[in-house]
Amino acid sequence: MKKFWNAIVDGILEIRYHIMRSMLSVLGIILGVMNLTAMFSIVKGTEVANRSFIEALGSQDMIQVGIDWQKVREAGAFGTKHIRLNLTDVENIKKFASTVENVGVEVYLEETVQYKSFNKAYRTLGVSPSTFPMNKYVVEFGRPFNEFDIESAARVCVLGSTVAEEIFGTEDPVGKVIKVRDEYFHVVGVLAEYGKYFEDVKSSSGKKPGSKSMKKSKNKNKNPLEWKNTRILIPVTTALTRFIGQDTSKNWLSIFVQSKSIDMVSATMEEVLNILIKTHNDQDVFWVGSIQEWMSDMEQFTNIWKIVLGVVAGISLMVGGVGIMNVMLASFRERMREIGIRKAIGASNVDIFLLFVVETIVICIIGGIIGLGFGYVVSMTALSAMLQETFGAKPEFSFDAGIFSMFFSMFVGMLSGLYPAIKAAKLPPVEALRYE
């Protein structure tokens, strides 16, 4: 222990004596650790952003069902009328599926909305009451649809937050009457704003000076969930009877199925698919997808990024290590005589080994700490701006990753200091003393 402490003191002394040389060798480690921490925070940041995006799409146990047009084409059934999803399919799934908790439906229209002098076309969705919780349509003001709205094909609507803002401004939309296509609808509710996470990212960056380009672009354009805010929801029956009629060929209908539990999602997917195939004359022209699948796709994607960026950062750290090894070998040549003197007065091979290894470790720890600081600063400023501009995400600095990078740099330092240290330790004293 005492020996180790002596070696540390000697190491620091040596570093101070060759301050310029030490700084240069530290630089490699600083850049490497900085790289590593910055990479980690970027990946973590995009991961958080992606997760919040997917989580806003629907609950974890949700499955979406639709027509797979690729399969339709392959089956040569293109244009066939009965290949459509309709409310009968919803009933069939409800009737035959054992693992299904709930079924919801959405039809997609584009309708012109009028209110006083306001006139604009919006994405209009016919939905069932169960769609609200499944697709995370959170009603902030007013109420969602109920069974009575569905049965009576009532002319009621729920507005997305942006729609409400655009039509009514600061007015309270609930209870007002708007004209959709040529029918009058009561506004019964307004949805919560989506993409709050991304909005927060935006507004936090907006305050910082020097991000002029960001201020110019309108915040809403960068919100990847903004499409959820620019919708009008009407009861699915209203959409079918008043706007679509019996001909559903022009309008897509999606079915959303909620599994009884998260563990049964894949079983439910298979079951639903089988029911649809059976009830459509054994024609397999459907696709099913789950939020879980998208989540795992995303995770796979982030994992690939983690590996790629980790390897890049690791290589740069290795380069730093090679730099250190170079410096230590030079230091070894320069200190041959000193090694001889120390051995003559009783330093053992281990003492000499420690002298060199500890010096590299000290260099690496110093480099690691500085690199960690730089990594934090860089990922929170420059990279933060970049990440917001491109993905609408913000870097998440993770302490674990920082500590990992530090230990990794120490490891690299030890590895690169090992060879010069062994060389120094093995040097015969006579040879070392003879060296001028």
Binding site: L13, I341, A344, I345, G346, S348, N349, V350, D351, P429
Partner: protein, 224 residues
Amino acid sequence: MESISLVNICKTYGQHNEKVKVNALRSITLTLETNRIYAIMGHSGSGKSTLMHILGLLDRPTSGRYFLNGRDVAKLSGNESARIRNREIGFVFQSYNLLPRYTVYKNVEMPLTYSNVAGADRKKRIARLLEQVGLDKRVHHKPNELSGGERQRVAIARALINNPTVILADEPTGNLDTKTEKEIMALISELKDETRTIVIVTHEMEIAEYADTVIRIRDGEVWE
């Protein structure tokens, strides 16, 4: 009292290649006693430096036996030799061999850090030794701030710090003027005592005059 005994010590360089084989030492047999000063004399290339290295456990003989205070040390491992160099042998070199980055105090302390001597005891010993060699005013100077004679005094203090039984001085005054040479030699002569053997390697007759016994080496053999 007998402290060092060499029996048929040989040192051959280039053992694996017959053509460049050099016999630096051929069968040296010597007995050195405590309370005496020995001078090893010889021309350059005579093998006196090799002998000095073997005596100081800086190098190992090719064959033969070396007893230091009754213990056979000829075939010790690197770390065991390091221990003995630290405890039982004090070196004084021609070029002082001080560590330039450390103060006088630190240089003298250095052998203690390798033998784990406790802190309080250290300070006393270093102070006493620096007084003995007349450098108590120069404790916190660095070697490059000292004269040649002063540097050699630091080296002598360092050699004495672990109270060794053997002092090996390799041309200790080779880099010094005549006046300083006398001072240093006087200092070395004072070190002679009941428990200590002093060996001086030199090629100068004036230095050899300080010795009780002169050992002449020629072509790797003892001549007289």
